[in-house]
């Protein structure tokens, strides 16, 4: 357990809560993510996993407690653009821009937000499209690609902003088994390169392989923060036990 904020901490969450009306979506969360660390958030549906990951780049602003990213306290006064340059995000449904080609999807934010020239942004985009294994799809439109290819574009698009942290919100949930293998191996590769990663997923084998720590959530609370070996072999709470039993049966 790492409740102490340290100099090497990339994300630090203290007593953070989020309400939707009367419903407590996140209940006084505490955790730290060190620079280069890989965190996987597990938990049953409705446990608050997606809400948590969305508070980390303030797409969902938290209501109380503190959030510190890379040493900066994130409040409603923080420039959201500065924050989102540090924290990239990949969604379950890709959210690619259908009216732009793959390349244009990747260079829009670097040009408009980072102020790169088209040439610089294109160079960068081609490098990342190459890294996610679809260098030859740059001029196609999203609808012309398979789901797996679209998610690779979404990952490349996020990487083009050269973030310090990557957030993945169930990146494989909308994909077929074959495509899952491809996307998972790209995230594996990124993790090996040392980028700080927070991932919400239901892929157990993948979680076990890449996670430095598993955060297990239920009903808006964090119940366990443990290394994967401990979590998958001897979970400490009954609810984690139940969750694992159900996942394995399935």
């Amino acid at each position: 357990m790492q409740h102490e904020s340290t100099a090497t901490s990339m994300i630090s969450v203290r007593g953070m809560s989020k309400l939707f009306g009367d419903f407590v979506a996140l209940d006084r969360l505490n955790f730290d993510v060190k620079k280069g660390e890989k965190i996987v958030i597990l938990g049953p549906s409705g446990s608050g996993k997606s809400t948590l990951i969305r508070t980390l780049n303030r797409i969902e602003p938290h209501d109380s407690g503190t959030l510190t990213i890379n040493g900066k306290l994130i409040t409603d006064k923080t420039d959201p653009i500065q924050l989102r340059c540090m924290v990239g995000m990949v969604f379950q449904n890709y959210n690619l821009f259908p009216h732009l080609s793959v390349l244009e999807n990747c260079i829009l934010a670097p040009m408009r937000v980072r102020g790169m020239t088209r040439i610089e942004a294109t160079d960068l985009a081609r490098r990342y499209l190459n890294q996610v294994g679809i260098p030859d799809q740059a001029d196609k439109y999203p609808i012309q690609l398979s789901g797996g290819q679209q998610q690779r574009v979404a990952i490349a698009r996020a990487l083009c902003m050269q973030p310090e942290v990557m957030l993945f919100d169930e990146p494989t949930a909308a994909l077929d088994p074959e495509a899952i293998v491809g996307v998972v191996s790209i995230i594996d590769e990124l993790a090996e390169q040392g980028i700080t990663t927070v991932c919400v997923t239901h892929e157990m084998a993948f979680s076990r392989r890449i996670a430095d720590h598993i955060i297990f959530m239920d009903q808006g609370k964090i119940l366990e923060i443990t290394p994967p070996e401990t979590f998958f072999t001897s979970p400490q709470t009954g609810r984690a036990q139940n969750f694992l039993n159900q996942m394995l049966r399935y």
Partner: protein
């Protein structure tokens, strides 16, 4: 009951201003050179403005192609009046029903449009008679003549709407019903040539108008018409010039008319325009009298500057109004799509509801005739029918366009905004680079649809005297009676304009090759 538009609610301060202006000119007249005649208060800044509906030959009509310059007995009289008062003559043309509201709204000094002097009109406006006339019932050449109005019982009778004949026919109908007879079936048409056409095509038995015009039509139509009856009705003996109530102005105008009568000017003009000539021999040339469809008339209308000018006005009004409407509607649509309640949102919802609910024609009439009574600035020269139409149609269209834009914006996947803001794009970029381009494609077909509607809706503006395509057509038809040919020419113009925009729509749609249907399929895979 016939509608009666003629009782304008009068604002006492109008009269007060009129009196003050009148006194000013009285003072000016006394201080000025000894022989200078007093000027009526309705002559403003050296300009005499008359309102006329140029579809009543030979009193006021368009002889050539230029619909902004009517001619006729009334127009010549107006010229002499202007000369007498050292003023410039300005002529505003409009539908008959718009004449008295425009006079009330101080858009013109006088109404000179071959209008009968009647006691009911004199309740609201002052009148000065200048020409004798009589009410006449006319029918097709082979129809036997009548001996009394009672013989019209149960028959179809056409009449121009807004005229005093409508009221008169109502009175006759009441008498018929009281005597246990069937009333006449009265059909009202907005222009006089349509009234005549109903008789010519045999839809109605007779029409009611006055002798001067019918003499002209009889010559024009080479004996296809003849007079069935000239009942002597005391209220229908004179054409009058109408002005806003002001005894001093009325006296000055009466003096001027008497002078023109005395020096023989009016007699000369009567002769010039054949006001009392009942012969059908000396006929003016007509084109469509002989064949079913006169191709020459059709092509000359098609290539005339009048039609081209009318079409350009139609196009300009539609384009300008729609551009303004879209510009207004986008921010309103964004504000209305915000789920939070606010005072602004309630106000905008009210705006949209009001202008979707109110008939477009009513909005046009309101802006042109009612608003100037409260804001005098809207009766100044710069507020032209063109501007008034653009104003009315922009507001009206923006209300419809808000609904199109609202649905187009909601149809864009919310994930797009999420994805764009996660990339750090500013609000501005999220809208301009991500949401608008996608909403644009969804909104395009209904927007083009709206534009085509708007292009055709501009024809309503003829009621406030805008010389758009349909108004030009009507005025030209009144001159030539070539209904089929001129309607066909107008149709060709409308079709060409609409097909051009449909073609444009196809081209723009084809540029957006990313299709939602394919996207759904690939997502489902």
């Amino acid at each position: 009951m016939p509608r009666f538009f003629l009782h304008q609610p009068r604002m006492p301060w109008f009269q007060r201003i009129a009196v003050i202006v009148g006194l000013f000119f009285v003072a000016l007249g006394q201080m000025g050179t000894a022989r200078a005649e007093e000027l009526p208060s309705f002559v403003h800044n050296g300009t005499l403005t008359i309102c006329t509906n140029p579809t009543l030959p030979p009193m006021t009509f368009v002889k050539g192609q230029d619909v902004t310059h009517p001619e006729g007995f009334d127009i010549d009289v107006a010229h002499f009046l202007a000369t007498r008062w050292h003023a410039q003559l300005s002529v505003i043309t409009m539908d008959f029903t718009g004449l008295f509201p425009s006079l009330g709204a101080q858009r013109c000094s006088l109404v000179m449009s071959g209008i009968i002097q009647t006691p009911s009109r004199e309740k609201s406006f002052d009148a000065v008679p200048y020409q004798d006339t009589a009410l006449v019932v006319a029918g097709r050449a082979n129809t036997p003549a009548l001996t009394s109005m009672d013989e019209l019982s149960g028959k179809d009778v056409a009449v121009e709407s807004g005229t005093s004949y409508v009221t008169r026919l109502g009175i006759i109908n009441n008498a018929l019903v009281a005597a246990g007879k069937a009333p006449m079936v009265i059909q009202q048409y907005p222009t006089e040539e349509q009234v005549v056409q109903q008789v010519l095509i045999g839809r109605v038995f007779a029409f009611v108008s006055q002798d001067v015009e019918i003499f002209f039509r009889m010559r024009q139509l080479q004996g296809k018409l003849h007079i069935l009856l000239t009942p002597d009705i005391p209220d229908y003996r004179h054409f009058a010039i109408y002005l806003r109530q002001n005894k001093q102005d009325q006296a000055l105008l009466q003096t001027a008319i008497t002078a023109l009568e005395t020096d023989g000017t009016l007699a000369t003009l009567r002769n010039k325009w054949s006001i009392t000539d009942q012969s059908t021999k000396n006929s003016v040339n007509t084109s469509s009298a002989t064949s079913i469809f006169d191709w020459n008339a059709f092509f000359s209308a098609l290539t005339s500057t009048a039609f081209l000018h009318g079409a350009l006005i139609t196009l300009a009004v539609a384009l300008l109004s729609h551009i303004i409407a879209i510009t207004l509607s986008v921010p309103i649509a964004i504000a209305l799509n915000n789920p939070k309640r606010s005072v602004l949102k309630i106000a905008l919802e009210g705006y949209v509801a009001l202008f979707r609910a109110a008939p477009t024609l009513l909005q046009l009439l309101f802006i042109w005739n009612a608003v100037p009574q409260f804001f005098p600035i809207f009766r100044e020269q710069w507020f032209t029918p063109f501007l008034a139409t653009v104003l009315a149609l922009s507001i009206n269209e923006s209300a419809y366009q808000v609904e199109i834009n609202r649905s187009a914006l909601s149809a864009v996947d919310p994930g797009q905004e999420l994805g764009a803001s996660a990339l750090g794009l500013s609000r501005r970029d999220i809208y301009w680079r991500v949401i608008f381009p996608q909403a644009f494609r969804i909104a395009l077909p209904p927007t083009i649809n709206e534009f085509i509607n708007l292009l055709k809706t501009t024809s309503l503006a003829s009621v406030i005297s805008l010389q758009e395509l349909l108004a030009v057509t009507q005025i030209q038809v009144a001159r030539t009676f070539a209904f089929t040919e001129y309607y066909a020419a107008a149709l060709v113009y409308y079709l060409v304009m609409v097909f051009f925009f449909l073609f444009l729509q196809k081209r723009v749609e084809r540029r957006f090759t990313w299709s939602d249907r394919k996207k759904v399929v690939s997502n489902a895979a």
